[in-house]
């Protein structure tokens, strides 16, 4: 993760302005960008087909689902929580959720990727909010085996990433800040309003305008 993501207020750089950009895609089944939203397009929602197999207990299909989603899940959770050890824990829970509740995925309601990422984001945000509530943020020793800065350097530059960056760049600064603080920051719209010194009404509108613009720029399913 980079500062662009962690400190969305600093500038319009988008989620990850440096690091892997320009690096050649390495390919391979576990490529982090993997089957990003490039591969999520219905009706050929390949990930959705795999999930249907997972729902029937197919472990090979689960391995494939894991390889396509775990990088995004871990990366997003890490963006929200920042603590590597905690993020790994939450990401593991999410991946187990995917296995457990694959039968509950309903392709009529959205793509498989959106389903997985919603599971993941909800869990990350729940963790943030329960911690804030107990106000005793557990201080973990960094037991993580991963040096994320190195990982960030090594992460392939995916088309998805470039595209999202470009689209985030097309938002107004307020729209971008509202969206990134909510999504990557895990803040509620009220907290975002406080952070930006704006009314909640303004923030809600900026979030909506920004996310709609992002959606349209990305050309995702609607």
């Amino acid at each position: 993760m980079t500062e662009g993501q962690r400190e969305p207020r600093r500038g319009p750089a988008g989620p990850r302005p440096a690091g892997g950009a320009g690096r050649a895609a390495r390919g391979g089944p576990r490529g982090a960008g993997g089957a990003g939203f490039e591969g999520r397009r219905a009706p050929g929602d390949e990930l959705g087909d795999l999930l249907a197999s997972v729902a029937r207990g197919d472990q090979d299909a689960y391995t494939a689902v894991y390889d396509r989603t775990s990088g995004q899940v871990l990366g997003m959770v890490l963006a929200v929580l920042r603590d590597p050890a905690q993020s790994e824990e939450v990401a593991q829970e999410v991946m187990l959720d995917v296995w457990r509740s694959a039968s509950r995925f309903n392709p009529d309601l959205g793509t498989a990727s959106a389903w997985v990422m919603t599971l993941a984001h909800r869990r990350a945000v729940d963790r943030v909010r329960s911690e804030t509530k107990s106000s005793e943020r557990e201080r973990r020793v960094a037991t993580s085996s991963i040096a994320y800065d190195e990982v960030a350097e090594a992460v392939e530059a995916s088309l998805d990433r470039e595209r999202v960056r470009r689209c985030l760049g097309s938002l107004t600064p307020l729209q971008r800040e509202s969206v990134t603080l909510a999504y990557y920051g895990g803040y509620t719209y009220r907290q975002v309003a406080d952070l930006l010194g704006l009314s909640t009404g303004t923030v809600k509108t900026r979030m909506r305008d920004g996310l709609i613009r992002l959606r349209d720029c990305l050309g995702v399913d609607q």
């Binding site: 984001h121 990433r161 969206v179 909510a182 990305l218």
Partner: protein, 310 residues
């Protein structure tokens, strides 16, 4: 509240990003239930947020992968949401608990026909402050009567019908929630079964009392089930640093039985399920610090002896 003054549509993006705090969330979900275009919009915006996640991807280590695959191999999967089962609450009326009726997880109304929610399962994991719909089965002085006991014969059928209305309202709200609710639903389902068991128990008894600081509490209890269902209406709103806490007090000791946040006046609270009743227990309600308290620290605003009918 604030919500009503503004156009609820504007919350779609915040909702898609899980950025709506619980009280607003419950309201927005009720709005979603009747707003096709809003559901469509949330759906499209969720796809956009998935792209935001994709942009944050990292390369997880092999150890992470091994652990995930091992965990999956050792974990039983959930069955598909049962969309074929009819609205089981219709069969609920006044029936005794039976193995057939309650042995399996409860399913509420099947909203899948609407194309959006998956079948709602029982209580929708709502928090107490999500109950502001005030379905009105409490606080109807007409049949609730004033404080005190009511005969069980008449109230039970009315209660079951009224509860079915509550469940329907909640099922609508739950049915429109999208993903990530499964844990909460599973939890709610268990609670749901206990509520059903208490209400249909042969020794179920209902009592209703005024809370000294305002509002009415109603308890349905079953000694046989060793459980009670607690609801309240019109509890006085407390400042943010305080909550209501429910207790069981008796020869078996004083045990905390749950906390209640009342964010606005006039809200309905519950149903809360309290299990583990012991003979001689009373139900108490006190005002405690927001984090709750292991022991009551203030004078109860409600104290109700649980008399056991045999």
């Amino acid at each position: 509240m604030r919500f009503r003054r503004s156009d609820p549509h504007t919350l779609a993006a915040a909702y898609a990003m899980d950025a709506v705090p619980p009280p607003d969330q419950a309201r927005f979900e009720r709005h979603l239930a009747g707003c096709d275009s809003c559901r469509q919009e949330v759906r499209g915006l969720r796809e956009a947020t998935a792209a935001l996640a994709a942009a944050a991807a990292v390369d997880p280590p092999a150890a992470f992968r091994d652990a995930a695959l091992r965990a999956a191999a050792q974990t039983r999967q959930l069955p598909p949401a049962d969309s074929a089962s009819p609205a089981r609450w219709a069969t609920f009326r006044g029936r005794r608990r039976s193995a057939e009726g309650y042995g399996r997880p409860a399913r509420g109304y099947d909203l899948s026909a609407g194309g959006y929610g998956r079948p709602a399962e029982g209580f929708g994991g709502r928090r107490s402050d999500g109950w502001s719909g005030r379905p009105g089965w409490l606080g109807r002085a007409g049949w609730l009567g004033r404080a005190g006991w009511l005969g069980w014969l008449g109230w039970r059928s009315r209660l079951v019908v009224a509860l079915a209305c509550v469940l329907a309202a909640v099922a609508v709200a739950a049915g429109v929630t999208t993903y990530g609710m499964q844990d909460r639903l599973d939890q709610a389902q268990r609670r749901d079964l206990t509520v059903a068991a208490v209400l249909t128990a042969s020794d179920a008894t209902m009592m209703s009392v005024h809370v000294t600081t305002g509002g009415t509490a109603t308890v349905v209890m079953s000694h046989r089930e060793r459980a009670l269902v607690f609801t309240a209406a019109d509890l006085r709103a407390l400042p943010g640093a305080r909550v209501y806490e429910l207790w069981l007090m008796g020869p078996a000791g004083t045990r905390p039985a749950g906390m209640i946040t009342v964010s606005g006046h006039g809200r309905m609270v519950g149903p809360m399920v309290v299990s583990g009743l012991a003979v001689g227990d009373k139900v108490g309600l006190t005002v405690e610090p927001a984090a709750g308290s292991p022991r009551p620290t203030s004078t109860p605003v409600l104290m109700l002896s649980l008399t056991f009918s045999s």
